[in-house]
Symmetry: C2
Subunit: 767 residues, 2 copies
Amino acid sequence: MTRIIFLLSHLLCFSVIAQAQTTPSKTVLEYVNPFIGTSKMGHTFPGAMAPFGMVQLSPQTNFQPLFKNGKYNPETYEYCAGYQHKDTTIIGFSHTNFSGTGHADLGDILMMPTVGDLNLNPLPTANNPTGFYSTFTHEKESASPGYYQVDLDTYGIKAELTASDRVGFHQYTFPESNNSHIILDLVYNIYNYDAKNVWTSIRVENDSTITGYRQTNGWARDRKVFFAITFSKPFKSYGHKKYDQVAYNGFYRKFNEFENFPEMAGHNLRAYFNFDTKASEKIQVKCALSSVSTAGALLNLKTEIPHWDFQKTKIETQEKWKKELSKIEVETISEADKTTFYTALYHTMLSPIIYEDVNGQYRGLDQNIHTSNGFTNYTIFSLWDTYRALHPLFNLMQPSRNNDMIKSMLAHHDQSVHHMLPIWSHYANENWCMIGYHATSVIADAMAKHVGDFDTNHALTAAINTANTNYFDGLGDYKTYHYVPEDKSSASVSKTLEYAYNDWCIAQMAKQINDTKTEGTFTNRSKNYEHVYDASIGFMRPKLSDGTFKTDFDPLDTHGQGFIEGNAWNYSLYVPHAIEHMIDLRGGKEKFTQHLDSLFTMTLDDKYIEKNEDITRDGIIGNYVHGNEPSHHVPYLYNWTNAPYKTQERVRHILNTMYGPTVEGLCGNDDAGQMSAWYIFSSLGFYPVLPGSQNYAIGSPLVKEATLHFENNKTLKIIVKQQSKKHIYISKVSLNGKVIKDFTLSHDDLIQGGELIFEMSKRPKTH
Amino acid sequence: MTRIIFLLSHLLCFSVIAQAQTTPSKTVLEYVNPFIGTSKMGHTFPGAMAPFGMVQLSPQTNFQPLFKNGKYNPETYEYCAGYQHKDTTIIGFSHTNFSGTGHADLGDILMMPTVGDLNLNPLPTANNPTGFYSTFTHEKESASPGYYQVDLDTYGIKAELTASDRVGFHQYTFPESNNSHIILDLVYNIYNYDAKNVWTSIRVENDSTITGYRQTNGWARDRKVFFAITFSKPFKSYGHKKYDQVAYNGFYRKFNEFENFPEMAGHNLRAYFNFDTKASEKIQVKCALSSVSTAGALLNLKTEIPHWDFQKTKIETQEKWKKELSKIEVETISEADKTTFYTALYHTMLSPIIYEDVNGQYRGLDQNIHTSNGFTNYTIFSLWDTYRALHPLFNLMQPSRNNDMIKSMLAHHDQSVHHMLPIWSHYANENWCMIGYHATSVIADAMAKHVGDFDTNHALTAAINTANTNYFDGLGDYKTYHYVPEDKSSASVSKTLEYAYNDWCIAQMAKQINDTKTEGTFTNRSKNYEHVYDASIGFMRPKLSDGTFKTDFDPLDTHGQGFIEGNAWNYSLYVPHAIEHMIDLRGGKEKFTQHLDSLFTMTLDDKYIEKNEDITRDGIIGNYVHGNEPSHHVPYLYNWTNAPYKTQERVRHILNTMYGPTVEGLCGNDDAGQMSAWYIFSSLGFYPVLPGSQNYAIGSPLVKEATLHFENNKTLKIIVKQQSKKHIYISKVSLNGKVIKDFTLSHDDLIQGGELIFEMSKRPKTH
């Protein structure tokens, strides 16, 4: 899910980013610029994390309230990952952040070092003219995988961050002061920042260790994050303030609850810890997270980082990143492309995240504590986005993790009271965001590609259960009518099309394990897209429960026309499992080519753009919207016509215009890595148009050369001959000496390694 | 802690109670009248529970809001146990209730069967003129240990309740209706009924099983109760309503969240389950609790009551009650006394309660999940009340349980961030209610009496830690000044006296394990009572930090004079560990006897009575207040003078006037069983004036005969010769043939069994 805002000016910020300097002997880490996408609506964050790590430790800049003067404040949406590159103030460092999502949550356990009179308000308010925020500049800020540092100019504090899988590691270099503080702000949340807490609790275990938890009611309805924090130096005193009306009176008679009292709890707490500091004295803080308990967090803390060597943790995490990023070695036409590539690759490894303690315990969807036996549990499944290219990329480059992710999805199903696979899930919650049941695609794709050792029978049962949850989002009607009637459920065409594709995925799963009955049932269901095609106008069109099509239909409009995040022009092309039949329905290849040409070249009237925040003029090519996923396969559809060269043109155009090496280098939310995964695949010259099948469609590679190191220890070398900015057309492709004629590669062939050779040309091959 | 209201009319309600009928062949169960104390401020409940059971399933009658027109509503305090005998309406049956406590919480998981149009408001409100409450009459209500039944007249439903240790078992006999409901009200709380929820959650696991939890912020600051409920008949449909502003939007797009949607959550939920019922059709409901998780509740449910045989569970629980109650067999002068006695004995077994799942898991004070290895974990420790007689009674009659309770207290210490033993704890929370650290008394008493196999070294360490928590309630100042200065901490004299006694207890513990250094330290501390004695006026008196006594001192006033729940007249007598020295300080036995006489006979001015709710004219004897614990040992102090016969007079008078067999039969809160334990001991003829020692002081037995069956398989027969209402004086006492001359019995002697023979007379032995 993406709301896109693309800027023509996306190259402007290049100079302020330390990592973007070109040097001859750069390591792969130096080609990652974590600031890419931190401007406008990229929704990425620059902070420190390990690959797929449970902690995402990142600065939070000047946030916007969700409501201003009683009205929704659209600016709050810019802060989905807590950071906006345009800002000049930091209010602290949070331990959880989504990368590139289309909606927001998290921002847990905000810490901020300050000096001088204690101030517990993050930002100036009507009642308090100051805040504990600090100003900062990008000149004194830098980031690379696993490491972030910034000078907090207001206080003369240098803040450095790194992280292991489950522990955030802070290093603050203080000035001399007898009035230094570290604030622990449990009020702060991303999105609706002070109105999401259900409960917060802090225990001061001793003079340098604290534990606690926070329970929030946000996008995730009932989310619990436990933490354990240690300081490298004992605090000299501490205290807290409560920001809520509910008072617990039992304490007041016995104690001054608010100063040096080791047990704090309430809806909204901010605590502070006071220190004397010498000039340039470093105070380090380690903060471990757990979904299980404070005991779990303490275990994670002691197990993962038993020492106080910040540099050691930083190096270990950066080594992990080197290992992951080096799985694909590329040479590109320009250094800028290489930065864009490796940052995209980096962005594909920020979620899903590990979601279990070091002993395998995690909080399940049923809020009970489970132990992952035989797998590592993951969370953050933005599946409507990521089934398309991110999970297929994992099947290619991270099959073990994808296997674990599927096992995590099956555990989710088993813990679900609905007996459903995840839709959009994170932190033991189902957020129900977007449509379809695309976990079926992830599983079918793994099965088609022989990835993993998960229980395929159980997976099929889980998929069938999911596909038969009649109360889910028009699904009962879909089964009754063979389409979702628009008068029963909005976005009915999008749902019908995606359910049909998901049903095809289930049929493929059944086929793999020789369940012919289920295969037949779901193959039949997969044809339901036919019921919403209106041949009279050549578009998919919302149909009512009486069998008639919706009147007053505008195929250019995205809203109220039976679609979601896409109009009929784009969404009508979404039948990935039956492209040839779709083309036939539309009158054959020539007419279809013309339709595609029109899509990319037409001029969209302003009225279709201005009325919502999802589409702006800069984010589209004609009427093609790259930032909204339903079209991601569309540039590749020319391969099914007589003009595959147009796929090559379009793909290359998108690679060059919708991505870039700057803070504005994402044409909208990264969508939990899906946008970046599209870039990785397309840069390498192929794309999984139909997850659940073996096939990749060939586009136009951006790289000059690439080496893919697979988990099976085989290596695929991609060689792009005559590559240049103008040589965007393919004259020949061969895999291990065999010429590919149909612009299709199979996964089983690729995964055997060898050489994939593209020969490029500046002229299209039009015959 | 007790606020007492004693009524002269306490015999009036006799006729309405089914159990109070006298029949020749009554079982011990028939001598228990669970309605005793349910009127006015007894704070007992009539519902069903197993001895020391985790579930207290009891009717909740018309409650009072905590605030009326913005002001505190004193009537709400009547509802500490959810039930008031004067009421004519029931709003449902809750699964947790305190028995006799001086403050309120709980009332979890209210269920109510109804018929007709669904109504989710318990009581009429401004917006809704009706409620789901039912009228009832005491004629169609009865209760006995482990069983309660009532006719819900509004609906023609008969409701029956029983319970195992962890499972409440409901049996509702419905009329014929296609509109029958069972309401599950998670909004309702005892005390501040709709403002305590932090979060509530319900999962409909299948058509007859639901799970969920409730988190509250009440007296316990952060309390979590998980539940699992099964219905004997599948519901035909269900739904819920939310009573809060916080909306989770994710669900609305996909579902009608409010009807037949299996996942409900919010701050305040009421759910309903619909049934068709035939005439006289029984629908049964089992509800298991857990402090751990819904998985724990399901395990408790399946393990404890795997069947649907209501009668079987009722009989099993009543057999448990028979076994516990039969440990003391008594013959009394009147049948009424026998009812009073067995009901008092019953009331001593309603708390502390078992607090762990069947697998030993429980939520600890640190909110982490622990497993009780080698003991059964208990909660609800109202220690300021119960160290006096309840725990000593357990040491006599329930030593195994008291051993488990002490181990539970040690676990509490280990989980406490303060490293303190419990003060007033329940459900993984420390409520900090009242003063002192009387867990030390419970432990010292067990050690003095050789009860249990707990780790005595660990116990001593825990006690020392507790006694050195400087920030606790004036304790640091107590250590510095050797008394609590009134200008530093209110109720300073009460605190000084009780700390001194607790310190003596710690010294006794140290002595038992030959830690002479600790014994010396705490023996010194135990003398601190001397610092607050003002010989010039003959009273304990608040002292300021400058060493001077408070001026403007009124020894009759309970408020603002350095005491809590007692005035200087009563509290000055609180030096249980140095009674002889206290008597010396006061000028010797004769002067002391006169003081005691004055206490019992003086006329207290109205101004000392009317200004607070803790003392009313009817609850006192002269200036002696039986309902407030600090005086509980006072009637026995004559034993240390030359007039022990006055103890006999006073004790017998209190037994006869402050207790009775009716709904108003408690002269104030039962104080978690302490008032009842006083009655049991005193009825048997002796009382533990000094817990932590071997000694009992002899009073005047009320029974004619008693047989105590100890856990060591020994039996003590108490024979009271010439017993009658007028023969209240003791002419001779002998234990196993040995005449007792000093009115003192030792525990070690009693526990060996044999015969304790009292010879009574109507004339006092005055020489």
